[in-house]
Amino acid sequence: MTAEAADLVLRALADPTRRTMLRLVRSQELPAGQIATHFPITQQAVSQHLQVLHRAGLVGERREGTRRLYLLRPDALGPVRALLDDLWPDALDRLKRIVEEDKRSRS
């Protein structure tokens, strides 16, 4: 489990604009310029959002001439799922070990 990777993904998903972007590129690869037409923000702001998604691994980025194309990478959601899936089993294992060790050392 990489908590850092999970954190990057969670931060990337925290913004509604970025979530909408993910939906746009869910099943088709789109150039940044076309993604930008869906939002009332500057091209530069759109690029920044796409970079956040890219750093989190949520979208793949491909250059084609002067264009940059983006496509959802659902695998990036894995660390988040793993973070939540592993958390409690690991924690309860530690709880069990510590309670039983403490009890043995008292007796």
Partner: protein, 132 residues
């Protein structure tokens, strides 16, 4: 976290012996994370640093020695905001041992009160992004 996440373990100690580890900061910190700040009474704070993730919520129920409920979330994270899910830990005697059952579930959000409606369940969000 849909459906509910349920994790169980059996500890060779009585519920009376296990319970303090769910509410006392000096005992909680030894198994839960690197730092905790808790006030174990309904409405009291529950905060912990799980290594690299800070979680925050509040205690909902503290019934020694059988049950603790607290809310749980990641501050500043819209998918799983502080207090957006609930963790219930139930201790049941089983001979000389204790069966520990931990259930982590989402809190339904009042749709009228919260503009984040539909975005509070992390895995629901992920599923919706992939499905729509």
């Amino acid at each position: 976290m849909t459906p509910d996440l349920v994790v169980t373990t059996t500890i060779e100690a009585s519920p009376q012996e296990v319970f303090p580890y769910l509410v006392q900061p000096d005992l909680l910190v030894r198994w839960l994370g690197s730092w905790v700040d808790v006030d174990p009474q309904p409405g009291g704070v529950f905060a912990a640093d799980l290594g690299q993730t800070l979680v925050r919520g509040s205690y909902v129920a503290v019934d020694p020695p059988h049950r603790v409920v607290f809310t749980w979330g990641i501050p500043g994270n819209q998918e799983l905001p502080a207090g957006s899910s609930t963790v219930e830990i139930v201790l049941r005697p089983e001979g000389d041992a204790t069966l520990v059952e931990l259930t982590h579930r989402d809190v339904p959000v009042d749709r009228h009160a919260d503009h984040r409606q539909g975005w509070t369940n992390l895995l629901g969000v992920l599923a919706s992004i992939l499905r729509e």
